[in-house]
């Protein structure tokens, strides 16, 4: 190949220039020696090349044939590489799942399904149940999402439709930076800012207002607890939801926006009735992402939740999540096979919850997006 190109370069130049350029750049990626035997074999197969003096044509044809082979070969190599990558991911997942299952097996066989709704966790007596930690995990995730979603949506609406232009870039960059901050930093922020704020102001206020009617808002005003953990995880989720929401807000077609204005809506009406419904799938998608972030968040939660294995009955209570329990005690649990099996089973539960929520979310998304996709296909 390389030889053909070299020898016929001059006659080739005019017509073959673009092709030559194209092939040249890719040829270098494939070792020339493997290609060389192909070209002499090919030449006799094009008898009319020398007879009609159509030198350039035949060269091109040769080139094309060689290219075909080359394309096939590089394609195979490429596909093979991709396959290795794909299989690796698959194998990784299978290994994690398989090893976890094997290691969790003593606990799975001993406690069965009751592991899920047993709320006792006593390594001393070899009684293990996940319920307290599952509840704690959902409390933190729930508070985080309840806090993050409205703020994220409001901020992204502001950025897409109301903010002065000079602010947009700055705030967007800040958002992205916020998303990149390690969770331990948020945990520390929680301890030095959120905990005192909750302890000295928010929690006494809640107890004195809503708490007068509902015990759910009463408590000891510790600062630490599910509220602190939930709010800080919420702060970590905001950039995630806000970024995706803003991206989908930008994607709302200008025509749709204009249609709303042309019908006499104010900006607020347009945003509320047209933009917001149009970005619902995007918001749901980002909430699923946020859920994944929140449910697995470990360090920030561990620093703030109060790590007490009890089921919260008030927003001011302390609690425990699956991930913070594992972080706190797993290195210790390895000295006892059943103890470590129970902790690994907790990890599996976390995995299953994430998978289920992700799948449900995707289904929902497909359903919501379905109409729009059908619309764009059925047009005309």
């Amino acid at each position: 190949m390389g030889v053909t190109l070299e020898s016929d370069k001059k006659s080739n130049m005019d017509e073959g220039q673009t092709l030559a350029k194209e092939t040249f750049s890719t040829v270098s990626a494939v070792p020339p020696p493997t290609l060389l035997p192909a070209s002499p074999g090919l030449r006799p197969n094009t008898p009319d090349s020398s007879e009609h003096g159509a030198e350039t044509k035949s060269v091109l044809r040769d080139l094309r044939k060689v290219s075909t082979q080359r394309i096939h070969r590089s394609e195979r190599i490429f596909q093979g590489t991709l396959l290795v990558g794909g299989l690796f991911v698959l194998a990784l997942f299978a290994t994690v799942l398989g090893v976890s299952l094997v290691e969790a097996w003593p606990s799975i066989t001993k406690f069965g399904w009751s592991f899920l709704w047993t709320s006792t966790w006593n390594p001393h007596r070899h009684i293990f149940g996940a319920w307290t930690y599952i509840v704690g995990t959902f409390w933190v995730t729930g508070i985080a999402l309840l806090f993050a979603i409205p703020i994220a949506i409001l901020s992204s609406l502001f950025l897409s439709d109301y903010s002065p232009k000079w602010l947009v870039g700055g705030v967007s960059t800040l958002m992205e930076m916020l998303a990149g901050i390690p969770s331990i930093v948020f945990g520390a922020f929680g301890i030095i800012f959120m905990v005192p704020l909750l302890r000295d102001h928010v929690e006494p206020f809640l107890a004195n207002t809503l708490g007068r009617h509902w015990d759910f808002f009463n408590g000891d005003a510790m600062g630490y607890g599910i509220l602190a953990a939930g709010l800080v995880v919420g702060i970590m989720v905001i950039p995630l939801v806000a970024t995706v929401t803003r991206d989908s807000l930008v994607m709302v077609p200008r025509e749709t926006v204009e249609a709303s204005y042309a019908l006499g809506s104010t900006k607020a009406e347009m945003v509320f009735f047209v933009k917001l419904p149009a970005v619902v799938p995007g918001i749901i998608g980002s909430v699923i992402l946020g859920f994944g972030r929140a449910i697995g968040e470990t360090m920030a939660v561990l620093l703030l939740i109060g790590n007490q294995a009890s089921i919260p009955t008030s927003i001011q209570d302390v609690g425990y999540t699956i991930s913070s329990l594992l972080a706190n005690t797993f290195t210790y649990a390895v000295i006892d096979p059943l103890y470590s099996a129970a902790e690994i089973e907790l990890g599996l539960i976390l995995l299953v919850i994430s998978l289920v929520v992700n799948t449900l979310g995707r289904e929902l998304l497909m359903k919501l997006m379905g109409g729009r996709l059908a619309g764009s296909v059925g047009g005309g």
Binding site: A262, L263, S265, F273, G371, R372, G379
Partner: protein, 259 residues
């Protein structure tokens, strides 16, 4: 199809010495032009001639371009459209618009038509149903969609979607309807239906249409305006424009010598 010219047409929109700018670029130069009540006025001209800018200026749809500004006067029933105390939202409620590409909302057929009413505060289901039915009938779409009003607007064909957009515009009972190349994205059959529809609507509405298609302008309009390079070259009865234009540039354009 023959444009009739009844005696004493009533001016609906009067534009005087009207110029429009996008930043430093002037898109319209000193346009003087009147749109009469219950007439169909067509605007033709090559791409970039300013006809769409002009149309969108009439219900202040260009306000969303931050550096857009106008000079001169444009009045709706004698009231300045760009007057300092005028709320553009109110202008747009009186001057509706249908766009080049069908642009229904991501909602049901019913909710698309009811949208303008809902934002104006109509809550009664029966009132909404009445108006939606009336509007869909006026847009000649009722028979095709009456059994699936709750279906997605996107399940309709392009032509149906465009008629839905017309129904949506009609539902808020505007006085003027601006059509910005409403049939350019549609097949001939759908186009014919839209043109028919315009004739039906003419009795009750003032219509202004921008079109690339000169045959269309000739078929549907009573008056035609020819724009070139941001200036209004000529405006006259459609028959006059297409048979005996006063300006040689108009003649060149309609005979296909340029554009």
């Amino acid at each position: 199809m023959e444009p009739e010219s009844p005696a004493l047409p009533v001016p609906k929109i009067e534009v005087k010495n009207f110029s429009a700018f996008y930043g430093k670029t002037q898109a319209l130069h000193n346009v003087d032009f009147t749109i009469y009540e219950r007439k169909i006025t067509a605007m033709i001209g090559p791409s970039g001639c300013g006809k769409s800018t002009f149309l969108r200026s009439l219900n202040r749809m260009n306000d969303f371009f931050l550096d857009f500004r106008v000079e001169g006067s444009a009045t709706l029933d004698g009231e300045e459209i760009y007057g300092p105390a005028v709320n553009p939202v109110l202008i747009r409620q009186r001057v509706g618009m249908v766009f080049q590409k069908p642009n229904p909302f991501q909602k049901s057929i019913f909710e698309n038509v009811a949208y303008g009413l809902r934002i104006q505060g109509v809550k009664s289901r029966s009132v909404l149903s009445d108006i939606v039915e009336k509007s869909l009938k006026a847009a000649a779409l009722w028979d095709e969609v009456k059994d699936r009003l709750n279906g997605s607007a996107f399940s309709l064909s392009g032509g149906q979607q465009q008629r839905l957009c017309i129904a949506r515009a009609l539902a808020v009972e505007p006085e003027v309807i601006l059509l910005d190349e409403p049939a350019s994205a549609l097949d001939p059959i759908s186009t014919a239906r839209i043109e028919e529809l315009m004739q039906d609507l003419k009795d009750r509405y003032t219509i202004a249409i921008v079109t690339h298609n000169m045959q269309q302008a000739a078929r549907v309009s009573d008056r035609t305006a020819f724009f070139l390079d941001g200036t209004l070259v000529e405006v006259n009865d459609t028959t006059k424009i297409f048979t005996n234009p006063e300006d040689p540039r108009t003649e060149d354009y309609i005979t296909g010598r340029f554009g």
